[in-house]
């Protein structure tokens, strides 16, 4: 049995976990390719024009998988273990996906206000006719795999932080940070300009830290803000926030992120990306931003 996973949105939040989970359940996993022009065009054509750019990208990946696998996995993410909500658009994602594809959608609602993550996973595994022990084993391996990556990331972070180059923090959602077609290779462009790039999600969090950021309704807002505050302990040269066009949540979050960096006198640049974004405009902003840091 082949499970298709769109390489977009939710996938990037826990890339190792989902792939490993299904593989250890004995399924084949078909991951859609890295975002390319064709995928974006597909997504833009099928998505509602009012939706944010990241969703358009997701729909492109979804349609790429259509009729290439037995199921496409699209979970409904509602709340995480801290009972904080995901982006409201995530709630309706499986229902929207069902309208668009011929291949059936495999889904389950992850709402940790009501039910533990593991329990929902068991329900998901049962849909694939897997036994309790098989599912438990798959969860265990997937979590281990995820932990390994996180630890490596932590090690890499401390290497990067030692770098003599000006360090720039890229603040965004994982689906913007890790999709270099979507972000127009911002990381590579910055590296060419002589910077060391750190993704916000790579920053390790000290669990004992006092919460000083405002209480947020959204899980990503808390995660981003606590990491923004954590990075301020290190010597960084600048911060760049990337936002998807028409992302409502980011419009709120940006104000807090910007305030945080600016009050610490760290130069801050805000970029909005969409399917029309020209490389030239981005390059101009990045070059000027790097010039700002040099002086």
């Amino acid at each position: 049995m082949t499970i298709g996973i769109p390489r977009a949105l939710i996938y990037w939040k826990r890339p190792d976990f989902w792939q490993s989970f299904f593989e250890n359940l004995g399924c084949d996993v078909l991951l859609s390719p890295k975002t390319n022009k064709e995928i974006i065009e597909k997504g833009v054509k099928s998505a509602d024009p009012e939706t944010c750019f990241s969703f358009k990208v997701f729909f492109g990946h979804l349609l790429w998988l259509d009729e290439k696998c037995d199921f496409v996995f699209v979970p409904c993410l509602k709340t995480n273990k801290e009972k904080l909500e995901y982006c409201p658009k995530f709630f309706g994602l499986p229902d929207l996906a069902k309208i668009l594809t011929k291949t059936p959608i495999l889904t389950e609602t992850f709402d940790e206000r009501k039910e533990k993550f593991e329990k929902t996973l068991k329900k998901l595994g049962k849909k694939l006719n897997k036994s309790r022990t098989e599912i438990q084993e798959a969860i265990k391996i997937a979590l281990l795999k995820e932990k390994e990556t996180k630890e490596k990331q932590k090690k890499d972070f401390f290497e990067k932080i030692k770098s003599k180059k000006p360090k720039i923090v890229l603040v965004s959602h994982p689906y913007n940070l890790y999709d270099d077609y979507v972000n127009l290779r911002t990381k590579e462009k910055l590296e060419r300009l002589g910077a060391e790039v750190i993704f916000i999600d790579e920053i390790p969090i000290d669990e004992t830290r006092n919460e000083i950021y405002p209480k947020f309704h959204w899980e990503f807002a808390k995660e981003i803000m606590e990491k923004v505050q954590a990075i301020l302990d290190y010597d960084i040269a600048g911060a760049i926030e990337i936002s998807s066009f028409q992302c409502g949540c980011d419009a709120v979050l940006k104000e807090f992120v910007e305030k945080e960096f600016k009050s610490s006198k760290i130069p801050f640049l805000y970029l909005i990306i969409d399917e029309q974004t020209g490389e030239a405009g981005l390059q101009t902003r990045l070059e000027a931003f790097i010039d700002t840091l040099k002086s």
Binding site: N36, R285, E287, D291, T292
Partner: protein, 320 residues
């Protein structure tokens, strides 16, 4: 006499500034790009060639503006610099203690915040060209008022009418509506200037620490109505520096002078008569299908760009 040339090629205008070692401007030029940057650069060089002092020797060329890459390739520039840095450098030469620069050009507008002559923050218009020179151009054409008269007319208004400023598409329909209900043209023009200044401050300059001295430059700073609108909205004096319409080119010339290239890569004025062409093709190497631009001088490929992976832009031009 050693001279440095700055070339700023934007969407609407192409500017050239030639300076000597003491930063004196020997030549400055503002011409329209008219959708053809290559011809505009050639034309600019031709006009410079006619006026350039006989003993002048161009020992450094810097390009800036949205077509800086192209301009750099076809002239053999020593420095290709983004327009924010170039404008800031230019303005800081005339007003060393400048803290805020408002620059409005043909299709973009920017705010630059400086501390001690150094850029610390900037903002550019993000997704649309609302309130830039192109829009004013279109409106002056529609109202049949020459753009040079536009600002003066705005100053004569005693009762500027309120024009929606959130988006220029709405601003235009609002203007038409105001005309239809009988507002005077000068009141509409003045209202438009106020709307554009408001729009600039609410979007591009949002959250920026605007402190005097405030400098206003770029093509739109020629517009007296816009100057007044900014002064009223900011409640501060707005300084219009010398060479306000060619500041990017001046900044690029200063920057290349400071870099002082050992031996300039400048191709000389010969390029004026050369056949310069840009063509594009779609790479079929992967699903991205990038549009690759190829610049040729007399048939010889000088540079390629536009590919995401670098397959074409990294090709060594000497091997072609």
């Amino acid at each position: 006499m050693k001279c440095y040339l700055g070339i700023d090629v934007g969407s609407v205008s192409t500017n050239l500034v030639l300076i000597d070692k003491e930063n004196n401007v020997l030549f400055s030029l503002y011409i329209r790009t008219e959708g053809d940057p290559i011809s505009a650069i050639k034309k600019g060089l031709k006009l410079l060639k006619e006026k350039i002092p006989e003993n002048a020797e161009v020992v450094g060329v810097g390009t800036t503006g949205s077509a800086r890459q192209l301009a750099g390739v076809i002239t053999g520039a020593d420095l290709i610099k983004n327009e924010i840095t170039a404008h800031a450098r230019g303005v800081a030469h005339f007003i060393p203690d400048v803290k805020t620069i408002i620059e409005i050009g043909g299709q973009d507008s920017k705010i630059i915040i400086l501390e001690n002559g150094v850029v610390v923050d900037f903002g550019l218009n993000l997704l649309c060209a609302a309130g830039t020179g192109s829009f004013l151009d279109a409106q002056s054409f529609r109202l049949k008022i020459p753009i040079q008269e536009f600002g003066k007319l705005a100053l004569s208004s005693k009762q500027p009418t309120i024009i929606s400023s959130r988006c220029t598409v709405f601003a235009e329909s609002d203007m038409i509506h105001k005309q239809q209900i009988g507002h005077k043209t000068e009141d509409i023009v003045a209202g438009l200037c106020q709307g554009l200044a408001r729009n600039f401050l609410a979007n591009i300059a949002k959250g920026k620490n605007i402190k005097p001295p405030i400098v206003f430059e770029g093509g739109v700073s020629e517009n007296l109505g816009m100057r007044k609108a900014f002064e009223e909205a900011l409640k501060e004096k707005v300084i219009i520096p010398k060479y306000n319409t060619v500041m990017g080119a001046f900044g690029a010339a200063l920057l290349v002078k400071e870099m002082s290239p050992q031996k300039s890569k400048f191709f000389g004025f010969g390029v004026i008569d050369k056949d310069i062409k840009c063509t594009s093709f779609q790479c079929k190497g992967c699903p991205n299908q990038c549009e690759v631009i190829e610049a040729r001088i007399d048939g010889k490929v000088m540079a390629r760009w536009g590919d995401r992976c670098g397959k074409w832009s990294n090709l060594n031009m000497n091997n072609i």
